[in-house]
């Protein structure tokens, strides 16, 4: 157990009804005992059993600071694997700060960000994938995000990776068997069977790497760029969608010279809206820079909202289309006609027809009057193209995992090609070892002793 006892406010910052302050480390009980007076005279925090709660008071030199509930977890049966005390106190910022200060005076150290999790990891309470998921859980802001982090923490990814590792182990064993034990009287896997195994491994790896797109979308939000001519009302729309005054809204052309981003939740998923500088021909160098930035943002977005001022559609539209449409070939482009309240139904129809060649997703809205924005939200959710997230689905959200899995996938694809090319086993093994190396970064590597053990267990070796 770590000698240094750490403490921190475990609940979200700010005032709430209740806050939780957590202590962890070898001195957690003695330190907590210094400030805590149990309500029952015969009770003591030091002798209290694990996983029980004790009501009492936090005192500073016999002055009562707050009435609290102390919950005890004795090592190793705690989140960190160390002795842990959690004080549930009243949620005022003043009380929280006061208790923390008393704890620091009593010998605690302020926990660094993520230190509780790091200790849990160091004490073998969770593997790396789980530890990283906890960090995600803390940062999770949407329902889907939360579900994902929970499922990772409970070992969903670890389990799937474990299965993958077992498959790989068996595959490697079959290859090594024909290399090291070719003189033995055992049945060697034929190329067809090996090919089948490599294809299956490839499939599993691809499923995981593909899930990163979803995982990434869930974690970081689905990127949606709002583009259009200056003064089409992009900033107003953004503020509507975010329900706050983020962008500077004015009727001066080119007010938004920089890119403004923020996230909001629609149907449980996070969307990251990106307001961009208006696109127009300009000599202003700074504005030109902003427009270049807009093109970059279009590249990064999954969905592009092209906002058009329905009251002043002119021949300039074609110039715009030539700049926007080619940049949105592999994404969803939605044409939004703003200020629908200012034009007639017939005019709406004409506009709709006019833009038919550019996009099949066209919608009349009024950002200012809040018209049709619910329809827009529903459309966004639909076009996000996210598969339904089931509880059992394993989704990769961690970039480190994604990179390792992608490298492993590339290696296994080379094995696949090698099998088709009739390569001898030791060359296949070169790529297989690379695959093991990358997968090993997240699952723990496969040692040669493990491979040999697997061979001896399944094949009768030894003349």
């Amino acid at each position: 157990m770590n000698k240094e006892t750490i403490c921190a406010i475990a609940t979200a910052p700010g005032a709430g009804a209740i806050a939780v302050i957590r202590l962890s480390g070898a001195q957690a009980f003695p330190i907590a005992d210094q400030l805590f007076r149990p309500a029952g005279k015969d009770k003591s925090l030091i002798t209290q059993e694990s996983h029980t709660a004790l009501f009492g008071r936090i005192v500073e030199k016999e002055t009562i600071v707050d009435e609290v509930v102390a919950t005890l977890f004795r090592n190793p049966h705690s989140f960190t694997g160390e002795d842990v005390v959690e004080f549930s106190c009243h949620g005022s910022t003043y009380i929280q700060q006061k208790i923390i200060r008393l704890l620091l005076e009593a010998g605690c150290r302020m926990a660094e960000p993520g230190e509780f999790t790091r200790r849990a990891f160091a004490n073998g309470k969770m593997d790396l994938a789980q530890a990283e998921a906890v960090a995600d859980l803390i940062a999770s802001t949407s329902a889907a995000n939360h579900r994902l982090a929970m499922q990772q923490m409970r070992g969903g990814v670890s389990k799937e990776l474990g299965r993958l590792r077992a498959d790989l182990l068996h595959f490697v064993s079959l290859i090594e068997l024909e290399l090291d034990f070719s003189e033995e009287e055992v049945e060697f896997a034929d190329r067809k069977a090996l090919l089948e195994r490599s294809v299956n491994l490839e499939k599993s790896l691809r499923k995981l790497t593909d899930s990163f797109r979803l995982g990434n979308a869930i974690k970081n939000g689905i990127p949606v760029a709002i583009v259009g001519e200056t003064n089409a009302g992009k900033s107003t729309l953004l503020n509507r969608l975010l329900n706050e005054e983020k962008a500077i809204v004015s009727n001066i052309h080119g007010t938004t010279r920089d890119v403004i981003e923020d996230t909001t939740h629609i149907g449980g998923f996070t969307f990251r809206f990106i307001d961009t500088a208006g696109i127009r021909e300009t000599q202003d160098q700074i504005e030109q820079l902003g427009i270049e930035r807009t093109y970059q943002k279009i590249e990064q977005a999954s969905i592009v909202l092209w906002l058009i001022d329905a009251t002043c559609v002119n021949e300039h539209i074609e110039w715009m289309a030539n700049r926007i449409v080619p940049r949105t070939q592999d994404k969803t482009l939605m044409v939004l006609f703003n200020k629908m309240d200012k034009i007639s139904k017939d005019e709406q129809k004409v506009l709709d027809q006019l833009f038919l060649p550019y996009s099949k997703h066209r919608l009349h809205i009024s950002a200012k009057q809040n018209q049709n924005l619910d329809v827009l939200r529903a459309l966004l959710l639909e076009r996000a193209g996210l598969p339904d997230l089931h509880r059992q689905d394993v989704v990769i959200t961690n970039l480190r995992h994604y990179e390792a899995l992608s490298a492993a996938l590339e290696a296994i694809q080379r094995v696949h090609q090698g099998l088709l090319d009739q390569q001898s086993g030791e060359f296949l093994s070169q790529d297989l070892r690379e695959c093991i190396h990358y997968l090993g970064q997240i699952t723990g590597t496969i040692t040669t002793d493990e491979v040999l053990g697997n061979i001896f267990q399944h094949f009768c070796i030894g003349k």
Partner: protein, 624 residues
């Protein structure tokens, strides 16, 4: 008569003999002590040298100037290159040898080696002063002094043999065990444990119905073990024979299990999983109705045969009854039954990469006492211990081999880093860079190093150099020689490969799997002239050049990977950390790092139970 030496080697098995030869070649005055001077490098088990991964080790020993390869070539009665259907890194030479001639040849070679003396006796005690070994005391109460001592006692330390319920003390059949050394070393603080191995029945060939067996012939091309000695094999070549067990055999063996020392609790020690007794095979793989057996001759002329695959410690009458139900053995007579043997070994993590013990200075362990099996593994360790024991006398930098340089390097690094939990045998899969550890180029990898130390002779060095020059010459020729499409296309079609659209260099053509020097030679006049200009070792040079051309991509890639990994092996950490005080390491990591005290980050990363996170922690602490 002198009683003071630079180096004393205890035991004249495969490890001891190579250790004595290496130490003497390095210039050290060397004494080899053995219980029986008629049993030098005795093949206690299978009368064969080499095999997959083991054959590569023998080529390495030879490239370093050792004797095992030469002795094997001179006494071979059957030679085969195993794994020919795989790529060249997997090709592994294997040879049956005449067991008695093998031992005799070894003795001849050692007798002709300067600075090697012999003493026939049993060592009962080491003399140790202030944590440093100073000599040995023998059963005849002779005290030899030495600067370094190498212990290569094989299976002799407290050796105990089992045939059914019969137990016999001894280090090998009809040979006494050795007592006292284990006890002394344990008192000095060494960790020791027991291992078990076994050997099969020896059969009288005059009682075997060979006509009912499958014949297995050897090969007779240019391949062999030594890079020296370019002569045809002197002994008459013999065949091996194959037959199979059947369910009746298994039934009889099964009925004998209550009397099997392996299954009635008489033997507790761990045996090798890859070399199971026949009784273990029928239990572990009960669904198999027949097991293959090889009947291998023990010599050029003898009628004694070794029954490979029938290792057993069942009672004699069970072994015999079971054998008789195999048709070709219905009239069998045997010379002795199979038996199991238990013996002491020392946890090899108590050694450094030089095979010197961490606990007692100038004391080296090599061979089966380190928990390995196999003549080749023992001989490889013997070389390294012999070299370093001599260096300890003369001063100079310790000599070790890296994992990407030699199987011997893999072997020793595995032993001292991971320890053993069963008798350790080499497999190619243990080497992460096996594409670089081929049998064809062991001389290119190692001879220069050995020559620099005075270990390899001038002759050996010159042979290596001229071979390398000739290979490079041939490759240069192929690089510079271009062929026109219309000129070669008829030949290509004839050889079953796609015709060319435009001219190419010969080297690019040779990269095609269907094409070789041999089959292109009749079609390219200049190539024929170039090949015919090779005077000596023509086939060896052609093969080596062809491997370098065909597998260049793989070899280069493997070199790149090895280089990346070896960066960790160049970061020295021995003595830099008090692991127990590093909180961010797991408790298991702290204990293991403290115990093994790895020399480099690379070695630390190979200790079982040390995670990549532990390694990152160490790297961070080193400021990397």
């Amino acid at each position: 008569m002198n009683f003071s030496y630079d180096v004393i080697v205890i035991g004249a098995g495969h490890a001891g003999c190579e250790a004595a030869a290496a130490s003497a070649h390095m210039g050290a005055k060397t004494l080899l002590i053995t219980m029986d001077m008629n049993k030098f490098a005795q093949m206690s088990c299978n009368p064969a040298i080499g095999g997959i991964a083991k054959g590569q080790i023998v080529r390495e020993i030879d490239a370093l100037g050792g004797y095992t390869g030469i002795v094997t070539d001179r006494t071979a009665i059957q030679f085969r290159m195993l794994n020919r259907s795989k790529g060249p890194a997997m090709w592994s030479p294997r040879s049956q040898s005449d067991r008695m001639r093998f031992s005799e040849e070894w003795r001849n070679m050692l007798e002709q080696t300067d600075r090697v003396d012999f003493w026939q006796d049993t060592v009962r005690q080491l003399t140790v002063e202030a944590g440093k070994v100073t000599g040995v005391l023998t059963n005849m109460n002779v005290h030899f002094k030495a600067n370094s001592v190498i212990l290569t006692a094989g299976t002799f330390l407290n050796g105990l043999m089992h045939v059914g319920k019969t137990q016999m003390a001894g280090g090998r059949i009809s040979e006494p065990a050795s007592y006292g050394l284990t006890e002394q070393l344990r008192e000095l603080g060494f960790t020791t444990d027991r291992m078990k191995t076994g050997t099969p029945v020896r059969i009288d060939g005059r009682s075997v119905h060979f006509e009912e067996m499958e014949e297995q012939q050897g090969e007779n091309d240019f391949h062999k073990f030594s890079f020296l000695d370019y002569k045809p094999r002197p002994l008459t070549q013999r065949n091996c024979w194959i037959c199979y067990t059947n369910e009746t055999v298994h039934e009889i063996l099964r009925n004998g299990l209550p009397d099997s020392p392996l299954y009635n609790g008489q033997i507790q020690s761990i045996g090798p999983r890859y070399c199971p007794s026949i009784e273990t095979k029928i239990i572990t793989f009960a669904e198999k109705t027949a097991h293959q057996l090889f009947l291998e001759p023990e010599g050029e002329n003898t009628v004694e045969y070794y029954l490979n695959g029938f290792s057993s410690s069942l009672p004699l009458e069970i072994q015999l009854a079971a054998l008789k139900t195999i048709p070709c053995f219905r009239d069998v007579r045997i010379f002795r039954p199979g038996y199991a043997i238990e013996y002491d070994f020392f946890d090899p993590t108590q050694l450094m990469h030089t095979l010197e013990t961490k606990r007692i200075q100038n004391l080296f362990f090599a061979g089966q006492v380190n928990g390995t099996t196999g003549y080749e593994e023992a001989a490889g360790q013997g070389m390294i211990a012999g070299i370093n024991a001599a260096i300890k006398c003369q001063g100079g930098e310790a000599f070790t081999l890296k994992r990407d340089e030699a199987y011997i390097g893999v072997l020793i690094d595995d032993l001292v880093t991971k320890g053993v939990d069963e008798p350790y045998r080499m497999f190619t899969s243990r080497a992460e860079h096996r594409i670089l550890l081929r049998q064809d180029d062991a001389d290119m990898r190692l001879t220069e190093k050995a020559y620099a130390m005075g270990l390899a002779t001038q002759e050996r060095y010159d042979l290596m150099k001229s071979k390398r020059e000739r290979i490079n010459h041939l490759i240069d020729f192929c690089t510079n020689y271009s062929i026109k499409a219309k000129y070669i296309n008829p030949a290509l079609e004839q050889l079953g490969t796609a015709p060319l659209k435009q001219g190419v260099r010969l080297i690019d053509l040779l990269a095609r799997p269907q094409l070789t020097f041999e089959n292109l030679k009749p079609h390219i006049q200049a190539l024929a002239v170039e090949l015919d200009s090779i005077q000596d070792r023509k086939e060896e040079i052609m093969e080596a050049a062809e491997i370098k051309i065909k597998y260049q991509g793989y070899i280069e890639r493997e070199k790149g990977i090895a280089e990346k990994i070896s960066r960790l092996d160049n970061i020295r950490i021995a003595g830099k950390f008090d692991y127990n005080s590093i909180q961010s390491l797991s408790i298991e990591a702290r204990q293991k790092l403290t115990r093994i005290n790895p020399e480099t980050i690379g070695q630390a990363s190979r200790i079982p139970g040390i995670s990549p996170n532990d390694i990152n922690t160490l790297l961070i602490l080193m400021g990397r």
